[in-house]
């Protein structure tokens, strides 16, 4: 019986997992790049480390909640099946989430850490010995986390792409598309965090984020394009599947809201903001509203991409 089995919870999960992967990747990059022995982009590094664990933690919770038998989720970790993208992904997610929390802890400001431990009830006072300064671990954790953040970002696409019975998904381009979208949404989340912060936008850090996001969006665009071309030149089942976004029920969502408003418009805004840097040796415009707007659009676009793929993919099939 043909039914939609994966619904909005899975859409949320794929989005949130990718979001964390992106945030962590950018934050780790900001930690890794150094100037005079100090992180070159300290605010991005810190904000990212503070933000990264939560989306993936929430997403994993949603994923478990979506299972028919949620209390059996531990069985995912009693087996390792290299043929199953979900099995590989669960392990990746577990390690990645651990790393994000470790990085979170390593970046926690000292007083916040002390306050956290001060809350402990008396009986758990022995835990106070973990009130350690791990700031020396920030860079090693960043480097350790790189492959895992990429892994989680790409796995959310492999999960769909590796299903040969659904022609809408069954191409390796979906993995790259989801990865670049994940990196881009992560960057956008950091732009948003910087722009809604009371502190003024710092030119250097904003330029760094804009540059990254422009790269990620461009890469994503040049994956989406071949995905369409490749699909149109593929076998009939794939061509029929693509009709879902070329005249079918997801056409408006895909072209207007994802491609137009979620990809090209924010790209345009970010390029516009960077224009002074690109054309002359001037600074970025420093427009908080535009920055927040572009970031918001990227995030909605990323969410929509997951939505369209999860639903349209399940409808598509061989005849």
């Amino acid at each position: 019986m043909k039914t939609i089995e994966w619904g909005i919870l899975i859409v949320n999960y794929l989005f949130l997992g990718g979001l964390s992967a992106g945030i962590f990747f950018v934050s780790a990059l900001a930690t890794y790049l150094q100037e005079d022995g100090q992180p070159a982009y300290p605010r991005i590094a810190k904000y990212g480390a503070m933000m990264a664990p939560w989306p993936v933690a929430l997403g994993s919770f949603l994923l478990i909640f979506d299972l028919g038998n949620w209390y059996r989720f531990y069985k995912l970790f009693l087996h390792f099946r290299w043929e199953s993208p979900m099995s590989i992904g669960s392990w990746l997610l577990l390690v990645f989430t651990g790393i994000t929390f470790a990085a979170f802890y390593a970046w926690l400001p000292e007083e916040a850490r002390h306050r956290l431990f001060a809350w402990l009830p008396k009986r758990l006072a022995f835990l106070k010995r973990f009130d350690l300064d791990l700031s020396a671990w920030r860079r090693p954790l960043a480097m350790l986390g790189f492959p895992f953040s990429i892994g989680v970002g790409i796995y959310t696409g492999v999960l769909l792409g590796a299903v040969q019975s659904r022609p809408f998904w069954n191409t390796n381009l979906v993995a790259q598309m989801f990865l670049f979208s994940a990196l881009s949404t992560g960057t956008a989340a950091l732009i948003l965090a910087l722009s809604i912060n009371r502190k003024s936008l710092d030119f250097k850090q904003v330029r760094f984020l804009y540059t990254l996001d422009i790269c990620f969006i461009t890469l994503e665009f040049f994956i989406v394009l071949p995905y369409l071309i490749h699909g149109e030149l593929s076998v009939r089942a794939v061509q029929e599947a693509l009709k879902l976004i070329l005249g079918g029920p997801y056409t408006v969502a895909f072209w207007l809201f994802f491609m137009g408003m979620g990809l090209l418009l924010p790209l345009f805004i970010e390029l516009w903001e960077m224009k002074p840097v690109l054309l002359a040796k001037a600074t970025v415009h420093h427009n908080k509203v535009l920055a927040a707007g572009a970031a918001f659009l990227v995030l909605t676009g990323g969410y929509l991409l997951r939505y369209i793929f999860v639903y349209a993919g399940q409808i598509s099939s061989f005849r």
Partner: protein, 185 residues
């Protein structure tokens, strides 16, 4: 079916042209396997074409194809979906976490979700009967003898006889799943 030890490959041959859409197989399956209301392990696909007097109506029974390379088994993260050496694809219900990845990966939409148990289920070729030397319920019930169940590796069996003397097709071979339901032409 009794001789143990010899390698077996169970399969089903269908002579759809004989099917009259009585759905006795569907009812027999539901009764034998306790399939919940609203869910089906097997079904009849109808196709109508043309208008009187030039018209065509065909009935094609469908169900799990007990694929040679089952994509449901490949994607299952816990190994709950598995293939027996005799080719029958089954689900170990106590290992199934209900992620429904297998349902999405099956090109034949052969699986259904059991909300009451939180697990996925599908046709089992009635293993409980086959392992006792009986035929699957649908095969035994079919009044017009559409269904022939047996062992493909049995050189003198009915399946080999049919598949060497008759033309047949399998559904969606392009998925690479190697379906083991043979539809006679």
């Amino acid at each position: 079916m009794a001789d143990k030890g010899k390698k077996k490959r169970y399969a089903l041959v269908l002579d759809s042209k004989k099917c009259m859409n009585c759905k006795a197989c569907v009812v027999a399956c539901k009764a034998e396997n306790g399939v919940p209301v609203g869910k089906f392990r097997n079904w009849i696909d109808e196709e109508k074409r043309g208008a009187y007097p030039k018209l065509l109506m065909t009935f094609d029974p469908g169900q799990c194809m007990h694929c040679e390379n089952p994509s449901c088994v490949r994607v299952c993260p816990t190994g709950a979906s598995y293939q027996r050496p005799d080719g029958i694809v089954l689900i170990n219900y106590s290992d199934c976490i209900g992620c429904r990845y297998c349902m999405i990966a099956c090109p034949y939409n052969a699986r259904y979700f059991r909300e009451d148990l939180g697990v996925v289920d599908k046709c089992t070729f009635c293993v409980q009967r086959v392992d006792r030397g009986q035929l699957p319920a649908c095969v035994e019930t079919c009044p017009s003898k559409v269904r022939v169940f047996g062992d493909l590796d049995d050189a003198n069996g009915e399946l080999q006889a049919l598949l060497t003397t008759r033309r047949y097709l399998v559904k969606k071979p392009e998925t690479g799943n190697g379906p083991q339901l043979y539809y006679l032409l």
